[in-house]
Symmetry: C2
Subunit: 215 residues, 2 copies
DNA sequence: GTAAAGATACCTTCGTGTATGTATATATAG
DNA sequence: CTATATATACATACACGAAGGTATCTTTAC
């Protein structure tokens, strides 16, 4: 009813977020009603409005769940002095893809953000956060490619920013297709193979028989 | 006013579609009201409901506009007996990308379908059509890669279906990023270069020094 | 006691569906 | 060639529910 302990209140908040995750996924963000979110969470709209300002606030709180996970991947993309950069990068990315494949919550969150949300004017704050998160990811990838280039581990025909953009678009394209639900491929299979393939292909050839831009 | 001539009625229909294109883009499909669509078109909801069953009907009619354009590209992806397949493919795709870049209507339509629409249960027919259209495109690409392989124009490490999926994901990933609006790249520039680069890279090497799966 | 944590109630706004009104184009009969 | 009938192409009006915001209770921890 009311004034549970602080801990119970936090649990209510989590329950509401879980419910929002489910309802947003099923109905889409725009069509979802706060009342249904509340009912699924086993409480009323009063609780929703207590914990979150409005629907956008609820959505942004959900978005943070995903951002934390995404930035965690970003942090794991680091440079190990004694290992070649690109293969390490491939392993980190593939590990993240496998984690996504096996973590239903993560998949649901990504589905909501990419396919259950119309990024119009009222959702501007959400769009901005997505933009920044993707910007950070691309920047991180570019840093790694730059480091690889500095070490002579990147084929000369690839400029680091280009390679980062290429890889980013490739993975995102796969993700969009995969999230649609009836994909005839898996993240741990075809997608990881493609990522490894690309990073292998744009690695500097040991012997330098460089033809026209083959990559 | 009523019972205009058949031609005038058709013009009204087109005007409504144009209005829907604008309103859906601005407000998103879910939040858009049929009344606003009608007002933008300079008529009332009566006209909307006369020409289209409901909002989904209107949306599907809009979708057809894009499908026609998309399938046109599909058709242009054909096999010319006296030219290598992959370079021809690259040119067709790049031409389509440039057309998209220079055709605002096309861009608006694609933005609506990819970023202003929540594909939930009620939108199932729309989702199905998107799926089929994308399926046709992927199948067409796969056919071309298969033909290239049969002619010995595809590097052995690439299976045709894999190559088609890779290319499809790559382009779609670029498109999603580009449609978001603040892209730091262009379709005619970086994206076309990437498409050409990939198709060049997976072409069979003239001399057969095939190492580990470098592609 | 008081403030946190929600429940309940009320109001308002908006959007849709449908029903009905209406004027005109077009077909058809004579 | 008219006159009439009918289907077409909308406009208008109404009823209805859904959803959100806000204000006001209620309970309970501290």
């Amino acid at each position: 009813m009311a004034r549970r302990t602080k801990q119970e209140a936090d649990e209510t908040r989590v329950t509401l977020l879980d419910a929002a995750e489910q309802v947003f996924l099923e109905r889409g963000v725009a069509r979802a009603s706060l009342d249904e979110v509340a009912r699924v969470a086993g409480c009323t709209r009063g609780a929703v409005h207590w914990h979150f300002r409005d629907k956008l606030g609820l959505f942004l709180a959900l978005d943070e769940r995903l951002l934390l996970l995404q930035d965690a991947v970003c942090c794991r993309l680091d440079i190990c002095p004694d290992r070649p950069v690109l293969p390490a990068m491939a392993e980190t990315l593939c590990a993240a893809l496998e984690e996504l494949e096996n973590n239903p919550r993560r998949r649901r969150l990504l589905t909501i953000m990419l396919q259950r949300c119309e990024y119009v004017a009222e959702m501007a704050p959400a769009l901005e956060r997505r933009r920044e998160a993707d910007g950070r990811m691309r920047a991180r990838l570019a840093e790694l490619f730059t480091a690889a280039a500095a070490r002579g581990e990147l084929a000369a025909c690839w400029r680091p920013e280009r390679a980062a953009l290429f890889l980013f678009a490739l993975v995102n394209g796969f993700l969009h297709e995969w999230l649609r639900g009836d994909a005839d491929f898996t993240l741990s299979g075809e997608v990881c193979a493609s990522v490894r393939g690309f990073l292998g292909a744009c690695a500097a050839a040991p012997a330098g028989a460089e033809g026209p831009p083959r990559c």
